[in-house]
């Protein structure tokens, strides 16, 4: 290994959330207080897959290690195993129900504190509870910068150059490591595990850690499905211009 590569050896932590497959038809049980998992396939949160892939690309280029971490009960193990199959060297499961983003961040921060990661990557948001909060919470809890919704990241000489989405545009920024960033679409193309990866994953270390003490700051008390649409009103293609008339005069949205 050349000296430059040595300096840039990257120790990366990737946060993996276990979420219902995107095709899931969402329903609830227990008087609308619990998500109905019956027949639901769980996957790695799509943004976390991007974070993981980018982490692997970085360490393959300049040396380093990628650890995948999840906060979840035993039912989340297939997802964290899949992260190992995609290429993470090792994995950590913090054995607790992920009640909210604050709790998840506290647990990951407690673990990360002792490990000195150069870079922590999360997804932009988990597609189940759509918080988009873990990245910033982690940054503050660890006292390091947090950069949300990055679409590119390059690491060199102990600092990262990133692009991120901002409202109505893009921003390029640089920041010293260590930092935490959240992956937005465009960061890279997700990797699919191959046979060798799947075999290797079986013997890779998956550490189970008991949760650190923490108090719940919030609780989801009920769910509700959106009211069904009243049915579509069709307009004949030959009279398409009627649409404008309706939108303008009747429902006044244009």
């Amino acid at each position: 290994m050349s000296p430059i590569q040595k300096r840039d050896f990257m120790k990366i932590l990737v946060c993996i959330s276990n979420v219902p497959d995107t095709t899931t038809k969402v329903t609830f049980t227990d008087n609308n207080t619990k998500f109905n998992t019956a027949g639901v396939q769980f996957i790695i949160n799509p943004y976390d897959e991007l974070a993981l892939t980018r982490a692997l690309e970085i360490t393959e280029k300049q040396g380093g290690s990628v650890t995948a971490i999840t906060v979840g009960l035993t039912d989340t193990e297939p997802s964290i195993r899949k992260a190992l199959a995609i290429g993470a060297q090792d994995a950590v499961r913090i054995n607790a129900e992920p009640t909210d983003a604050y709790f998840v961040a506290e647990q990951i921060a407690a673990y990360a504190k002792t490990e000195n990661y150069d870079l922590i990557l999360t997804g932009r948001e988990s597609i189940d509870h759509n918080g988009g909060l873990v990245c910033g919470l982690l940054g503050e809890m660890l006292g390091i910068p947090s950069v949300n919704v990055i679409t590119s990241i390059e690491v060199e000489n102990g600092s990262a150059t990133m692009e991120r989405d901002i409202d109505g545009g893009k921003e390029k920024l640089t920041c010293k490591l260590p930092l935490v960033a959240s992956a937005q679409k465009e960061l890279t193309e997700p990797r699919i595990p191959n046979m060798r990866g799947i075999m290797a994953a079986r013997t890779k270390p998956l550490k189970v850690v008991e949760p650190a003490a923490s108090s719940a700051t919030s609780a989801t008390v009920a769910f509700e499905l959106p009211a069904a649409k009243g049915g579509v009103k069709l307009i004949a293609a030959e009279q398409a211009e009627q649409l404008i008339e309706i939108l303008h005069n009747e429902i006044k949205v244009i």
């Binding site: 910068p145 920024l173 008390v221 398409a240």
Partner: protein, 325 residues
């Protein structure tokens, strides 16, 4: 005690979503009989801050500084949480924009406050402190009870009304008290799409799918959008094939939007697409296939060929606009 609202600005100008947040905070403050304090960071001057009083702020704290002209999450979070502590705020209101959300989470951790993002309701305080937010990428809502003494709410743009309170402007200019370590991340280049309406803020969105056949046909979408003052969007395959930029991709793995009007053209209406757009107030689907799933999610539909239907609609829209002037 108070309700603190972060008055986000871009290049010295407050956005519509900021006024929504201020009016939201003012209503909360009124319900709790406390003051609504707005915090402006950056270069917005007092004349601009007058608008914050107009839409409900009893007091505006304005912090200016060379380095604060651009958004830096760490620095902004420190200023917001310091102001929250100083003003004895029990609720901190922030717009659920990209910048807003990235700073809101840091503020919550600093204040050890419970946080809800994507909030779409006023708090229900009959038992606890419950707010409603979108979950499962628009497929459902959740009522979340925030249990800490201080709460942070990131509220969804295009959801709450702007109310004219017309309060007298009271501005307090404050020093940030920041040091270099608060600016560890440094923006080196910002590019904003100018002259175009950002997708997340648009009241009308015209969106195209694979049914448009190729990027060369996008003028049909753009013509209609321009006529209606709308933003343009697309389905995932369209941005995957680079017909359109990724920033236009809406849906479960793209941007979630809730405009007043969403017009979907040549989009089948896959569950992942609908997830990102189903909160739109009115949905119009145009598709040549009468069985397209989008018709089940739409308020109005036209079964027809986009290449024939779109020019007709655009012509009618142009006529309507011409008459309106």
């Amino acid at each position: 005690m108070s309700v603190l609202v972060f008055a986000e600005s871009t290049e010295g100008t407050f956005k519509k979503s900021t006024f929504e947040a201020v009016s939201y905070a003012a209503e909360l403050a009124k319900n709790n009989s406390v003051a609504c304090v707005a915090l402006s960071i950056g270069i917005a001057d007092d004349s601009k801050c007058a608008d914050l009083a107009k839409y409900g702020a009893d007091k505006v704290i304005s912090i200016k500084g060379d380095k604060l002209n651009q958004f830096v999450a760490e620095a902004y979070a420190k200023l917001i949480s310091n102001a929250a502590t100083q003003e004895n705020a029990t609720i901190v209101v922030i717009s659920n924009t990209y910048s807003g959300k990235s700073v809101a989470s840091r503020v919550a951790a600093k204040l050890k406050a419970a946080i809800a993002s994507g909030v779409i309701s006023m708090p229900d305080t009959t038992a606890g402190f419950k707010v409603r937010r979108g979950v499962y990428s628009g497929k459902a809502f959740a009522d979340v009870d925030l249990k800490t003494p201080v709460k942070v709410l990131a509220i969804t743009p295009n959801t709450f009304n702007i109310t004219e309170y017309n309060k007298a402007l009271q501005v307090v200019h404050a020093e940030g008290g920041l040091n270099d370590t608060d600016f560890i991340s440094t923006p080196v280049e910002v590019s904003r799409v100018t002259g175009k309406i950002p997708l997340t803020e648009a009241e009308v969105v015209v969106s195209g799918g694979r049914g448009l056949k190729g990027p060369e046909n996008w003028h049909l979408i753009e013509d209609l959008a321009e006529t209606l003052g709308a933003a343009t969007a697309c389905s995932k395959p369209v941005s995957d094939m680079h017909w359109r930029p990724h920033s236009e991709h809406v849906g479960q793995t793209g941007i979630t939007i809730k405009p007043n009007l969403y017009i979907a053209i040549g989009i089948s209406g896959a569950i992942q697409h609908l997830a990102g757009v189903s909160s739109s107030k009115v949905i119009v689907a145009i598709n040549k296939d009468p069985e397209a799933p989008f018709f089940k999610a739409a308020d109005y539909g036209i079964v027809g060929d986009a290449f024939e239907v779109l020019p007709k609609i655009t012509a009618a829209a142009k006529k309507m606009k011409a008459q309106a002037i």
